[in-house]
């Protein structure tokens, strides 16, 4: 007689089931906090809002058609992508030397103190920090006072705030710690003797950097890029506070629909951004290692 299910398979099946249990909380969280809201958002994005401000479940692509047919939204989305890329590039360019110096030349005790100093601004509210930049960059702000004090300008300049440059600067300030922490974690695991060895074997410093250091910290760099780039796609507070009438990013336009209870248009526009983010994450999924940022021995 042949046993239809080999006995050896039964414990394994049970074992697989048991091994799956630890993933249940994460699965529930993913389902409740991500998949369900996304499903609702997709449904809303395909419905319409009537003149009574009620969401009506009439299936339509009008919201998406409006996004892609009205040049303003496509242009503003492109502007947002450029802004996010510019901040990310500047964030990496400033955070990498910072983290490199910290890991290579600063003692353990001081490393922790400096890292704490990087994190401290997070203890105050985002709003407060953005308002502080208004006070620094404004016409009667600290920067103008300083430049007039040293005689560089005769009268206050209006170039420092309420434009794209001020949005870029404040976003760089806000997201620098994300880049710095991700790169610090990656660099901390790197054995710097490898750089010396490479140079002993004839590599120039820039070659050693490109061919030895960079490939090994690449996951940290990618993580830093994603941690800076992705949230900026949804930024609306900083552009509102320091961007003035010229500094709007795509989220500012979306939030206007929210304020007007146009939830279906808002959902479609948000989903365009969310879809873009998902594509970015899928492309970089092999480099995305959250443990690079959170795990530290």
């Amino acid at each position: 007689m042949v046993d239809p299910i080999p006995a050896s398979h039964q414990p394994r099946a049970r074992s697989n089931l048991t091994r799956g249990w630890p993933f249940l909380p994460a699965g529930v969280v993913l389902l409740v906090l991500f998949l369900l809201p996304m499903t609702v958002m997709v449904a809303f994005s395909l419905w319409r809002t009537n003149s009574d401000l009620d969401v009506v479940p009439d299936w339509t692509l009008d919201n998406y058609i409006y996004f892609f047919s009205e040049g303003t939204y496509v242009r503003t989305f492109l502007k947002t992508l450029i802004m996010a890329a510019a901040v990310t590039a500047a964030g990496i360019a400033t955070a990498l030397p910072f983290a490199y110096f910290l890991v290579r030349y600063v003692g353990q005790r001081w490393q922790r103190i400096v890292l704490l100093a990087v994190i401290v601004p997070f203890w105050t509210s985002y709003l407060l920090r953005a308002y502080a930049w208004q006070a620094i960059l404004g016409e009667k702000g600290a920067l103008n006072q300083f430049l007039m004090g040293i005689g560089l300008i005769d009268e206050p300049s209006r170039l420092f705030v309420y434009n794209d440059l001020s949005v870029w600067l404040v976003l760089l300030y806000v997201y620098f710690p994300f880049a710095a922490l991700a790169l610090y974690t990656a660099l901390e695991k790197f054995d710097f003797n490898q750089l010396n060895a490479a140079q002993d074997l004839g590599a120039r410093p820039d070659q050693a950097f490109r061919r030895i250091l960079l490939p090994q910290i690449r996951p940290g760099v990618i993580t830093a890029c994603i941690f800076v780039f992705v949230p900026i796609l949804g930024e609306f507070l900083t552009p509102t506070l320091v961007g003035g009438a010229q500094g709007a990013l795509i989220a500012n336009l979306i939030i206007n629909f929210f304020r007007g209870l146009q939830y279906t248009t808002m959902a479609a526009f948000s989903f365009v951004i969310a879809g873009f983010v998902i594509v970015v994450l899928v492309i970089f999924r092999r480099y995305l290692r959250v443990e690079d940022v959170v795990a530290r021995g």
Binding site: L53, E70, T72, E139, G244, A245, N256, F257, L261, T265
Partner: protein
């Protein structure tokens, strides 16, 4: 070092979690049952703007009548409407402006009541008890509170000749010197007023095109969109902004904050305005507390003090008399407190059929 966690098995952890969860759930049910009981003392949930009350007032009412308030901050009418739709009976009272009040009623979110059954309502200007938009066969839709037209405030050091029209906002002389509220539908409505459009919240396509034309001319003049009133005041005080749209009282708020003299005016084309009321939420769990609360909170002494603190006209005529006795008549009259009929000349804020189109116009102008 306590190694208690080493002794806790997964099964034990789940058991403890389940018991704790059940206890929390039971507590919640018990609390819900308690709050659901009909009573005239307790705490009710009120979503309102921060200038509709002050702490001493609420403390005194709590002490006198044992009615407490659990207040959640209201950002704008749309938010209040959306929130109430979500939570319904979890709120008991909601503040709202002008045409948003009938909107909430039509959606079945708030209930009408007999305003004359409140003794304190006799202190109101009679006009405030008879607003057509708030009158339904079932009763009155809200307890009238305050009002204000939107004005233009300007710094005469930089703005001359003295303007009298919305047109001043489009003058290229004032490039990057104007602050307006971060409320797209309202900003489009201002431009509609400038274009002579009668009903800025219910515009036709042709009217929207006119408003957009004006908005395009306004754009280079905008310094920033104010998140809150204090942003406007700060910009006028620092003289970064020379012109701004604001509620009544901007000149005093700028002066109080150390700024120079600011002049305000109502544009000759007419203006937008708001008048707000307290609405009783249909099916609110603490519904029975609202009328006794209003009876106390709307007393003229409290309303007079509210005016002194927050400075804009209110509908309580009795409070005006107190203000006169307290030597505040000049300010009250300057703020049109004694002219409540002015509200009938304003275009009242409210949801309209062109809300979506107005936002689209705004975005198309201020996007990249």
């Amino acid at each position: 070092m306590n190694d208690w966690y080493r002794d806790v098995s997964r099964r034990r952890f789940l058991q403890v979690s389940a018991v704790a969860g059940a206890a929390v759930a039971l507590g919640g049910v018990a609390a819900a049952c308690t709050t659901g009981a009909s009573k005239k003392t307790g705490t009710f949930n009120w979503m309102t703007w921060s200038d509709h009350y002050y702490d001493t007032q609420l403390d005194e009412i709590k002490k006198a009548a044992d009615i407490g308030t659990n207040i959640s901050e209201l950002a704008d009418n749309a938010e209040g409407f959306a929130k109430l739709k979500e939570v319904t009976g979890q709120l008991d009272m909601l503040s709202g402006d002008a045409l948003w009040v009938p909107k909430n009623f039509d959606e079945g979110l708030v209930e009408a009541f007999d305003i004359n059954s409140l003794a304190v309502s006799k202190q109101l200007y009679s006009i405030a008890r008879e607003f057509e938009i708030w009158t339904k066969p079932a009763g009155y839709l809200g307890y009238p509170f305050g009002w204000s037209p939107i004005q233009i405030a300007y710094n005469p050091k930089f703005v001359s000749p003295a303007p009298d029209s919305w047109e001043v906002l489009l003058d290229p002389k004032y490039k990057g010197r104007i602050v307006v509220e971060n409320q797209p539908v309202e900003v489009v409505a201002y431009m509609a007023k400038l274009a002579g459009i009668k009903d800025p919240y219910n515009m036709t396509d042709a009217e929207l095109a006119q408003a957009k034309e004006a908005l395009l001319r306004l754009k280079p003049n905008i310094l920033k969109f104010a998140q809150q009133n204090t942003d406007t005041v700060a910009a006028l005080v620092s003289e970064e902004a020379w012109l701004a749209t604001s509620n009544l009282g901007a000149e005093d708020r700028v002066k109080d904050a150390g700024g120079s003299d600011v002049v305000t005016f109502i544009p000759k084309e007419g203006t937008i305005g708001w008048m707000d009321a307290e609405m009783i939420v249909k099916g609110g769990k603490n519904h029975d507390l609202i009328m006794p609360f209003l009876e106390l909170a709307e007393q003229k002494e409290y309303i007079a003090e509210n005016f002194i603190r927050y400075g804009r006209p209110l509908f309580n005529e009795g409070a005006y008399k107190i203000l006169v006795d307290k030597g505040e008549q000049e300010r009250a009259d300057r703020y049109l407190y004694n002219k409540p009929e002015t509200v009938l000349t304003m275009t009242l804020k409210g949801p309209g059929v062109s809300t979506d189109a107005a936002i689209r116009v705004f975005n198309e102008v201020f996007g990249a």
